[in-house]
Amino acid sequence: MASALDLLPGTLDLMVLRALTLGEQHGYGVAETIHERTDGAFVLEEAALYKALHRLEHEGLLEAEWGVSENNRRAKYYRLTSAGRARLRKRVSEWRRYVAAVSKLLEPAPAS
């Protein structure tokens, strides 16, 4: 496995929102989803993940509810709000344009 990547600023929010499109999850679930779907490409500090979750909840992009987890313990479940969904759409399209632009720049210069 190649050495893990550091996160670019702002991408954590994007990843959290995306992870929650799969349905209601608790914090560990979100971390796991990100890990799995990125093939463990990133070093994800879990403390930062929780801070992001709390912040997004306060901003109204997520809402949280206490529920009972698979191991029968009290756990906090997060889900996307409609505002969160809208934000995700916006951020995804921004991200695509960003990546496309940067990629274009990085491509080997065409022989002239």
Binding site: H26, G27, Y28, A31, E45, E46, A47, A48, Y50, K51, H54, R55, E57, H58, S69, N71, R73, R74, A75, K76, S82
Partner: protein, 877 residues
Amino acid sequence: MKRRRLFRWPFRDRARIREDVETEVEHHLEVAARVLERGGLEREAARREARRRFGDVKRAKEELEAMDQRNERWARRQAWWGDLWRDLRHGARVLRRRPGFAGLAVGTLALGIGGTAAIFSIVWGLMLRPLPYGEEERLVAFWRPGHWSPAEFEVAREAGESFSALAAWSWDARTLRRGEGVARLESGVIATGNLFELLAAPPEMGSGLRWEDSRPGGEPGVVLSDGLWRDEFGGDPAVLGTTIRMSGEPRLVVGVMPPAFYFPTPEARYWIPLTLDRAESGYSGNHWLRIAGRMAPGVSTSDPGALAPIVAALGERFDYPPDWDKTRDASFEPLRQRLLGDQRPALFLLLGVVGVVLLMACANVAALLLGRTADRRSELAVRAAMGASRGRLARQLVSESVLMGLLAGALGAGLAAAGFRALVARLPLDPALVETLGVDWPLLAGALGLALAAGTLIGAAPLVGVIRGGLRGSLGGRRASGGGLTRGRLQSALVVTQVALAVILVAGASMLTRSLARMRAVDVGFEPERVLAVDAFAAGGDLDQDERRRFFPEAAERLGELPGVISSAAINRLPVRDGGYTSIAEPAERELGDAAPTVWWRVVTPDYHRTMGIRLLRGRGLSERDRSGAPHVAVINETAARALWPDGDAIGKRYTHGIDVEDEITVVGVVEDVRLAGPREPPVPVAYRPYDQASFVTSQGVMVIKTGGAVGPLAGQARALIQRLNPAVAVPRMASLESILRDSMADTSRIATFVALFAALALALGAIGVYGVVSYGVVRRRQEFGVRLALGSSPERLLRSVLGRGLILASAGLALGLAGLAALAGLVRPFVHDIAPLDPLSLAAAAAILTATAALASWLPARRAATVDPVNALRAE
């Protein structure tokens, strides 16, 4: 689309946030450890690895906690404002549903707030705002009664080591004439040259006056007020150092004062130096000065011992008769008190009146809210059951009173701003002083805040009981009778208070009205109808004694030739309006000593009594034959005749008068009494003397003109005629005798109008209060009435019992109000004359008015009680 959440996540406290963060993070670590364990790690190692991957667990927890707390606070604030907005809109809907009642509540509250703010602005401006002098709290005024002679002042000045400076001053009036223009009369002050130094008030321009100006031979200068400088000299700085003509004498303009300066009131528009000349005849004989002083550093303004050296020096130097002994009762008071003290009684009374109305308005709002809470018990109970906190419920209810307070505050502020000028013009206050005032906005904001706070408290007090106790039973639809009773009692207490306050105002108003009626009914002794009084001021520098002696009678005679004039005359001082000269008179045939009466002194032309409609009782009137050189004669009034010759006829008797010539004067006639000092004061002894024989003729003279037609059109002709006769003579004012008489009662009449207006308002509020509480009682006891009627009780009996309840409330209020009145009577006393301070008739009238109002207000609901249909009433519950 935005979805509204039906239930808000309940707000979390600190401990709860900590617990939540703890649970969430620990849950994560546990799951992570379990997964690692499943992957083959040993249990302890798995837990360590989970924590390592998480990062700094302790710090993360702290940060999450802090973040959540911040967010929580923010959300709480958001919710609070959102709820407030909803509550206010709700409150507005509720108020709109009862526009009449709400309008009355808001209207009275607005009157109370606006009135209190306006009056407080005046109180602040007149009583509390510092005078425009440096360290004004160290300035004092010397004692009364009696004024000071220049000699006394100089003795006091030499002995006054407790004072860093003493100045003597007096009011002054002088004509100002520019070129050949018309002379105008100005009021000002004549004072020792150190006045401005004493006041620590330097002029805006120029050097001002100096102590040297008061020495004999000093420069006759004048300092102008900012107002006079602008009005008369167009604000031109070049006037400084020029000479102007005042009362016919040249005066050098040596200064202009700043706009904010006044002394003693803004009416004074110039200051000229007083000359202390030992060689002058009045130096020790004329007592006409007031003394102001500045306490020396280190001497307390409340130390009466500071006067001891002055008193000792006065006693050593002067031989005082007992009535004028300045060595007794020596004292001083703060200058501020002396200058502004006259305004105090009126201000305190006005403040009391608007304060009472504000209180009543608050009680009214509270009663209104009280009525509303009872109607909403089930609504409140539902909300409480759904988890609304008590504070939240209370706030919802209080927001209505806050809304009313805000409305009333805005309205009151508008009223105060718009009506301030009109209000102060109608108050019995010195117009020149009031001129300088305006609405004090910070003060108004303060009053508004206070009213809001009061409204909120009053609104909240009755709610506490409702929220704490009364809700549980309310859901089922049946009213909890305990809560109802509490409400009844509270409402009764409010109504009793309202009635008590109304009693105070109504009794005050009836006392003032009665006093005014008595004053109006007084026979002043002259006939003021169709008489015009024209003031003329012939200054000493323009007309000397002999010229004045001729001028006033001649002016009167010429005025008599105007078309429509029946008769005309001149007098040195008008009755009622003008004070006058008095001194001791003694019959020629015996010494009265200390028993000699003080007799007022008037100088008149022969037609004076006829023009004024004062009847001659015995002897003859003055005539053209009573000239200089002829025997000295006088006409005296009845009171003087009785005082000088209690046992016999005064005609032909002779007397001497301190202020008059040294010769004996023969009484040739006795006229009826006149209320010389105004309708409030009893008649005083008066001697009338002809112009040709009087010891001196003052600058001031008043021409009285009796006309067959209207007085108004005559005024212009009169002024023109006098100024044609001599352009140096000023005509400062003209007025009909009737208006002068009215003005003499203006203070009482203005106060009476003001109090009567507010008393009517208070009465209406009181009536509404009684009506509200009695009709609520009737509604509550409907069932009981039904049963009683069904059991054979007569409707009249029910009617009587309900009526009785209203009257009991009214009597309680009445008793409380009368007790309060006894405590407050002092406020009205300065404006009440000729009747006892607690005039029984006025009190009885107030009691009767209140009882009748309460009876009427109770009768309407009582009739409803008597006409209850027993069947319906019993079915209703």
